[in-house]
């Protein structure tokens, strides 16, 4: 037995206790109470979590006002969430001043839009057919919202508002901004100095100023640019501003992708006799765009949040309809927190979902890459 020889050798030395293995329980607890500092942090965190959960639970559930009207909520003086406010104002907050009986139209448009988005998020469906899908969906959404066809009554853009408007501004902004951005990126990485300079000046000018200023410019100056007799819709002005803004930011992202495509790809395309546009379309851009999908999704999240700024030039986006609901004379000053929390949740759910998708795509693309290397 090995033990015997060991003891024989160590026989003269005082017996040492074997190092005490850490018990399983301690191992589990070590990250929490490993050092005094860590223990203090753990207790501070636990206390904070307790306060947050207890506070939220009390506000949302135990102290909440479930039934009643503005007066009941006013009497409670903000001790708990005022659910009647949400119940009474939900449809207004989501659809704004769109005619009440026609709410199914923006609702359907949003569903169509979300459906198209989910389809285009699944890598299996990535093909040029997506372009046609989006074209159809955009036209269908436009017809649904504006009406005038198929016996639908005409609803002017001035009464569009709420969540459909936010979705529309950000997705149309991204779609057109994407086209503009790719063109700008190609121009900026062009070998022709004049074209490069034009692109650089445009991109840097737009990126150097805040979105608010571009919105202002679009809403004040765009009408002045138009020839006589052409009026330009307020919604369209904001949309143009967002497209310009999106284009400049997307251009920089796409340029990063273009730079990541090895030079050999350009040369191989040229060796096959492909011209500039053909080699860009068939060889370079597909590879470049694939790389930039995750940052593009992040840009989209940013634009979805930035569409809130259109309220500054007087459009009724989702944040604005929520604020209008809170300013309703009957509810004035009663449900301030409720409105903002509701709006924040809607934005957070959407942004978080898109963010998780971006991380998923990033992981997926990464594994694809490593397969390519090893195989």
């Amino acid at each position: 037995m090995a033990n015997l020889t060991d003891t024989a050798i160590l026989g003269t030395a005082p017996r040492e206790r074997p190092p005490q293995g850490e018990s399983n329980g301690f191992k589990l607890l070590k990250p929490y109470i490993g050092t005094p500092f860590n223990a203090v942090m753990t207790f501070a965190c636990l206390w904070l979590i307790y306060r947050m959960v207890a506070g939220a639970w009390g506000w949302l559930v135990t102290r909440a006002i479930v039934e009643g009207g503005p007066q009941t909520c006013k009497a409670a003086a903000g001790a708990g969430a005022c659910w009647p406010f949400l119940a009474a104002k939900l449809r207004f907050m989501v659809f704004g001043f769109y005619p009440y009986d026609e709410h199914w139209r923006p609702a359907l448009a949003v569903l169509l839009f979300l459906g198209a988005m989910i389809v285009s998020m699944i890598p299996r469906f990535w093909s040029q057919r997506l372009l046609w899908l989006w074209l159809t969906v955009v036209v269908a959404c436009g017809v649904l919202m504006y009406g005038g066809l198929f016996g639908l009554s005409v609803v002017n853009t001035t009464s569009w508002g709420g969540l459909p408007l936010s979705f529309m501004l950000s997705s149309v902004g991204l779609a057109f901004g994407f086209v503009l951005g790719v063109l700008l990126a190609l121009a900026r990485s062009s070998k022709l100095p004049a074209i490069q300079v034009i692109a650089v000046v445009f991109i840097e000018m737009v990126r150097g100023v805040p979105l608010v200023s571009i919105l202002f410019m679009a809403s004040v100056m765009l009408p002045l640019f138009m020839p006589d007799g052409v009026t330009i819709d307020k919604l369209l002005r904001a949309q143009v501003a967002i497209i310009i803004f999106a284009g400049a930011y997307i251009a920089e992202t796409v340029r990063g992708g273009l730079q990541a495509v090895p030079k050999g790809q350009h040369e191989a395309a040229a060796a096959l006799g492909l011209g500039y546009w053909l080699s860009m379309r068939k060889i370079v851009l597909p590879q470049a765009l694939k790389i930039v999908i995750p940052p593009l999704v992040n840009i989209f999240i940013g634009f979805f949040q930035d569409t809130t700024l259109v309220t500054i030039i007087g459009l009724l986006d989702f944040l604005d309809t929520v604020r209008s609901a809170m300013r309703d004379p009957a509810w004035q000053g009663i449900a301030v927190l409720e409105g903002y929390v509701f709006a924040a949740l809607v934005y957070a759910v959407f942004s978080y979902g898109m963010g998780s998708y971006s991380r998923f795509i990033e992981r997926r693309l990464k594994t694809d890459h490593s397969h390519g290397r090893s195989g």
Partner: protein
């Protein structure tokens, strides 16, 4: 062959000729659009009898601004009003950048903590701030400030002569004069001098190998110039005490709720981004660096300060620059809650004079100039810390 190469059709297939042609067409197109727009705009402005030019800048503004750092009243010119707005923009941006950097550093390090509770809480903080629009937070903070604090008439007196209400925080201040500006300037000189002395002492230590206590010299460099400035300018220390009237509090230094809401909103939302930047930067430094530092006998804090952070900074600085830039640009959201920044003052000016194009041109140029200045400054710093490849 020479014959056909020089024919005009053949010439079109020459790559160099084409390149020139494309560029000429592009430039002509841009110039054409520009000229057309300019023509339309000036014709329309003439039709609507709107004056053009920047003469209005020297006319009296006639509106008040709730917060200004240089003396300003409604009798001053539009130009001065816009300057006040610009200073307000810079003021809130600087504080927001400092706040976001400190918070972002703390949260970024907390994200890397081995304590799962702490790192999860930090993640929650980041996600909660990143996934909700900044404008919503601005409205929310502003509404909370107005709701939580009492009206001015019932202002809380938290310290003698310090009042807190939904009209803002009001505290005693020193009546400012040119002499004070002189002292401030000499204090700035002192700070710069302290840095120079510290850098000099460090270089000396590295070159000679003799460690000499540097702090007395640095302290002297820091405090002697303001002391001289104080003796030289002899500023009066007249305190401007706030006085509580029946409806409002007059005098003293006032921190407005608009400023606070904007500062907190900008600072918090930028801190979430900075936390992620810091985290990515620290993670980019390989484990081997930690192990090597430990094996030469550095302890954790020294490793962080001397080995990891200098390397992480290279990764951190470029995205940090764009974060600072967007904080500066996002301060233009001030107009939504009524903080008198550059955009808001310009907007008031545009509404009064009707000269929208000039107003927009001014604030766009200012933002553009400041953005370029900040990115040049940060690029210079980045070049200093960048890895010098041999």
């Amino acid at each position: 062959m020479a014959n056909s190469a020089s024919s005009p059709v053949r010439l079109l297939y020459d790559v160099r000729v084409r390149a020139v042609l494309y560029q000429v067409v592009a430039v002509a197109l841009v110039l054409g659009i520009g000229l057309y727009l300019f023509g339309t705009v000036s014709r329309k402005l003439a039709e609507q009898n709107i004056a053009t030019g920047f003469d209005y800048l020297s006319r009296p503004a006639g509106f008040v601004i709730s917060q200004s750092f240089i003396s300003y009243d409604s009798g001053n010119t539009y130009g001065r009003a816009i300057l006040v707005g610009l200073l307000n923009t810079i003021w809130v941006s600087v504080f927001a950048v400092i706040l976001s950097t400190v918070l972002g550093l703390v949260v970024g390090i907390a994200r890397l903590s081995r304590n799962p509770l702490l790192s999860t809480l930090a993640l929650l903080y980041v996600e909660a701030l990143r996934n909700v629009p900044l404008l919503l937070y601005l409205f929310l903070w502003y509404a909370l400030i107005v709701a939580v604090f009492p009206p001015v008439r019932e202002a809380w007196q938290i310290l003698p002569d310090v009042f807190l209400s939904n009209g803002g925080l009001i505290m005693p201040s020193i009546r400012w004069s040119a002499a004070h500006t002189g002292v401030l300037a000499s204090a700035t000189i002192g700070i710069v001098l302290a840095f120079v002395v510290a850098a000099f002492m460090r270089r000396h230590r590295v070159a000679s190998g003799h460690a000499r206590a540097a702090w007395p010299f640095v302290l002297a460099a820091l405090f002697v110039p303001p002391l001289i400035g104080f003796l030289l300018f002899q500023p009066d220390l007249v305190v401007n005490w706030p006085e509580k009237g029946r409806f409002r509090i007059t005098g003293g230094l006032q921190v407005t709720p608009e400023f606070t809401a904007l500062l907190v909103g900008l600072g918090l939302s930028a801190s979430a981004g900075i936390a992620e930047i810091v985290r990515a930067g620290i993670l980019s430094v390989g484990r081997g660096q930690w192990e090597a530092a430990r094996s030469v006998g550095l302890h954790d804090r020294q490793t962080m300060r001397l080995v990891v952070l200098p390397q992480a900074l290279r990764v951190i600085i470029p995205p940090l620059t764009s974060s600072y830039l967007s904080t500066f640009k996002n301060s233009s959201l001030a107009i939504a809650i009524g903080y008198p920044d550059l955009v808001m003052v310009s907007n008031t000016t545009m509404n009064q004079t009707g000269q929208a194009i000039e107003g927009i041109a001014i604030f766009m140029l200012v933002y553009l100039g400041m953005s370029i200045a900040i990115s040049m400054l940060m690029n210079w710093y980045n070049a200093r810390v960048a890895l010098v490849e041999r």
